[in-house]
């Protein structure tokens, strides 16, 4: 396509967007809600992943062995660990070490344990770190299955809750966003339908002088993409602002909990939003124009 035509088509796209600004605004609104929701969901999921990842590194599963374990038992347990693929690393803590640690932790009251001389109340134990937090429960069950194991410490409830929240957010937002994208496509194609209807005289003249369908479609596609562009820019701005507020709020609640900085993901989000927005705009337009050109509206006679 020649550059002079391209300039003409882009001007036409802008002109038509402006003439039709009320409907265009509605389209921008729906697309924008859709994108903000998508962005929020992604940010929630990313932050939970980060938090759970952190907990995972902190959260070492304690495996306590039955009392009266011999060296043979300890070796047996060690080899069982080798068969569980979700184990990242293990560290043996003997009952003597456990006692020492506990004494130190109690400080001055450490001599309380002096009464136990000769009879250590702590079991031998392993610190086990898990590779994939998703398979946590499964791994805990496997550890419990080892005969020499007395008990396995449970994972913290916070991590469990967070993973549940994350999964729920993912599933719900997937459906809601899917639905909203359909609504956005519907509204965009209706907006463009109105534009086409307002310009049916021009379209019929274009057809009569032999403009190709591609050429006729182009200004409308550009108009749709402009809608997407505006929605993409605005929604990134809104998300940035709201995320800032949320980060502040969470920081006030607990100084240790910090969110991923927006600047880490902002450019990617902007890029994705522009891409999704413009693709939705172009698609919505395309559907509408094709439908119009296929029906009698796309004719030369009797279109007014």
């Amino acid at each position: 396509m020649k550059t002079s035509s391209l300039g003409y088509l882009i001007r036409e796209g802008f002109r038509s967007l402006w003439t039709n600004r009320n409907m265009a605004l509605a389209s921008v609104g729906v697309l924008l809600s859709c994108l903000v929701l998508l962005g929020s969901a992604v940010l929630v999921v990313l932050n939970i992943n980060q938090a759970v990842g952190w907990m995972e590194s902190q959260n070492i599963v304690m495996v306590y062995l039955k009392s009266g374990t011999t060296q043979a038992d300890i070796d047996a347990v060690q080899s069982k660990f080798g068969q569980i693929d979700n184990i990242a690393e293990t560290k043996f803590i003997s009952k003597e070490e456990a006692l020492e640690t506990q004494k130190k932790a109690l400080g001055e009251d450490g001599d309380l344990f002096d009464g136990y001389k000769g009879e250590n109340p702590f079991p031998d134990a392993y610190q086990v770190s898990v590779k994939d937090v998703e398979r946590y429960t499964e791994t805990v069950e496997e550890l419990r299955g080892i005969t020499q194991v007395e008990k396995v410490s449970e994972r913290t409830e916070e991590a469990e809750t967070m993973l549940n929240v994350r999964n729920t957010v993912s599933v719900i937002s997937f459906w809601v966003i899917g639905l909203l994208i359909l609504v956005a496509l519907f509204i965009i194609s209706n907006t463009i339908k109105i534009t086409i209807y307002e310009r049916r005289l021009e379209v019929s003249i274009m057809k009569s002088v032999g403009a190709t369908n591609g050429f006729i479609t182009m200004p409308f596609i550009i108009e749709g993409m402009l809608i997407g562009l505006i929605a993409g820019l605005l929604s990134t701005g809104i998300l940035w602002y709201v995320y800032g507020l949320a980060a502040d709020g969470i920081f006030k609640m607990s100084a240790f909990a910090t969110l991923i900085p927006f600047s880490d993901v902002g450019w990617l989000i902007l890029l994705c939003f522009l891409g999704i927005g413009m693709a939705a705009g172009a698609l919505g337009s395309f559907i509408s124009v094709q439908r119009y050109l296929r029906t009698n509206g796309g004719g030369v006679y009797n279109v007014l």
Binding site: K207, S208, V209, G210, A211, V300, Y301
Partner: protein
């Protein structure tokens, strides 16, 4: 050149608008198509511009064989013809110049060529001085001349006009046909539908009369000079 061989057109509601039409219109001819209301004149033009598709028969227009032509070739086929409508069909919010330029722009012509060519066709229809006017500021006759300029701007082989004088007074109608004759004299085929027999009688041209979907008379090819 237009060739119809055994062409029949029945609309989806069952109305047969044209029955077994056979005719040939050579390049450079000037043809009036006459007939009463509902005879099938517009249907004939719609088949030529491929707005409607024939149910039977063969149609060839300006080297395009409609039975083998692809859908995506229709725009290129239409560039070989200029269409003039009874109701002018000018875009109200564009100047006369832009209305004519529009037809070139949407076929991808470069701006410099557009300026030159639009000035030329506006001069041809005698409206150079109205180039900056809006269509609403023109008389009916002038508006139709703009319509004709637009039809001419892409340098078509053929002008197809459906009652171009239907909305203008008799004196302007006569001038309009003279203008079409001038265009024809320069080599463009002209096809004009009208039901004003008094107008047709003032020009010695080939006349095809359609009634109830059939050609009932055809004066055949004439020498292409007018004879008032």
């Amino acid at each position: 050149m237009i060739e119809f061989r055994g062409v029949t057109k029945t609309y989806p509601n069952g109305t047969t608008a044209l029955k077994d039409i056979n005719l040939t219109i050579e390049d450079g001819e000037f043809v009036f198509i006459v007939g009463s209301s509902g005879a099938g004149k517009s249907t004939f033009l719609k088949l030529i511009i491929r707005e409607e598709v024939a149910n039977a028969g063969k149609i060839r227009v300006n080297g395009f064989d409609f039975s083998t032509m692809k859908k995506r070739d229709i725009p290129y086929m239409r560039r070989t013809m200029g269409i003039v409508f009874q109701d002018f069909r000018l875009i109200p919010k564009m100047t006369v110049f832009d209305n004519v330029a529009f037809a070139m722009r949407v076929t991808g012509a470069p701006p410099r060529q557009i300026r030159k060519r639009v000035s030329k066709v506006l001069a041809l229809v005698g409206l150079s001085h109205k180039a900056r006017c809006m269509p609403g500021e023109l008389s009916g006759g002038e508006q139709q001349r703009v319509g004709l300029a637009r039809a001419m701007v892409n340098n078509p082989k053929m002008i197809v006009a459906d009652e171009p004088t239907g909305n203008i007074d008799p004196e302007r109608s006569f001038e309009m046909v003279k203008l079409l004759s001038e265009i024809n004299r320069r080599g463009t085929t002209v096809l004009m539908v009208t039901h004003e027999m008094s107008l047709v009688e003032r020009f010695d041209r080939r006349v095809i009369q359609i009634d109830d979907g059939s050609v009932i008379s055809d004066t055949g090819v004439r020498e292409s000079h007018e004879d008032e």
